[in-house]
Symmetry: C2
Subunit: 119 residues, 2 copies
């Protein structure tokens, strides 16, 4: 699959709410996940670590709604815009807003995902 095909298939799963399935299907073994934060979760590598982060996120956040827009493609990268409405279970803080995700594709797999937060 080329980048456009990966982008379309990955996005279709996200739009169906199948975020974890999208990751499992398209993350490369070496995938790197980069959040816009400091600390040990800021940049992690390897599919097992990324799956664990995903599971941690879903365990610690209550998702009210996530709407996915895109894909937006350039070369071997594509971008999605997530409109999220989520409550952090620990603090009880509910946050609604958009974030941008940037995916880099090699050999039909996502080798990097990078998340950009609104200021």
């Amino acid at each position: 699959m080329n980048t456009h095909e990966v982008a379309e298939a990955f996005t279709a799963l996200c739009k169906a709410g199948e975020f974890e399935k999208a990751g499992l299907e398209f993350w490369a073994q070496t995938v790197r996940s980069v959040e816009a934060m400091d600390g040990p979760m800021a940049s992690i590598e390897g599919i097992d670590a990324v799956i664990a982060k995903s599971e941690w996120w879903y365990a610690n956040n209550e998702v009210h709604a996530i709407a996915t827009k895109g894909p937006f493609v350039n070369g071997n990268q594509f971008s999605l815009v997530f409109d999220m409405d989520v409550t952090d279970k620990a603090s009880g803080n509910r946050h609604a807003g958009e974030e941008v995700a940037l995916y880099t594709v090699e050999n039909g797999k996502i080798v990097e995902e990078r998340f950009f937060y609104g200021t």
Copy 2:
């Protein structure tokens, strides 16, 4: 200025419709501009070439509206989402839709801009 400060100032100019001023204020001398297309305009380098491309774009497109969302920041990069309603003067084709722009900042200047188009 750090990346957050550049992102906020650049975005404020874009939201005010001052796109060319935003570029002139924040493009580095060596800025690289990457479009999601083939051909000689796909990747250009240097502030003079990027200014010329911008002038070409405004000369060849009639802008009905551009709404700017963001900024979305991660590390030394930030992203904007442009909701554009534009007519290509040559073809007469009017196109409305979103695109994503990704900016890389070094030393308070934008050293790369990269545009992602909806599919």
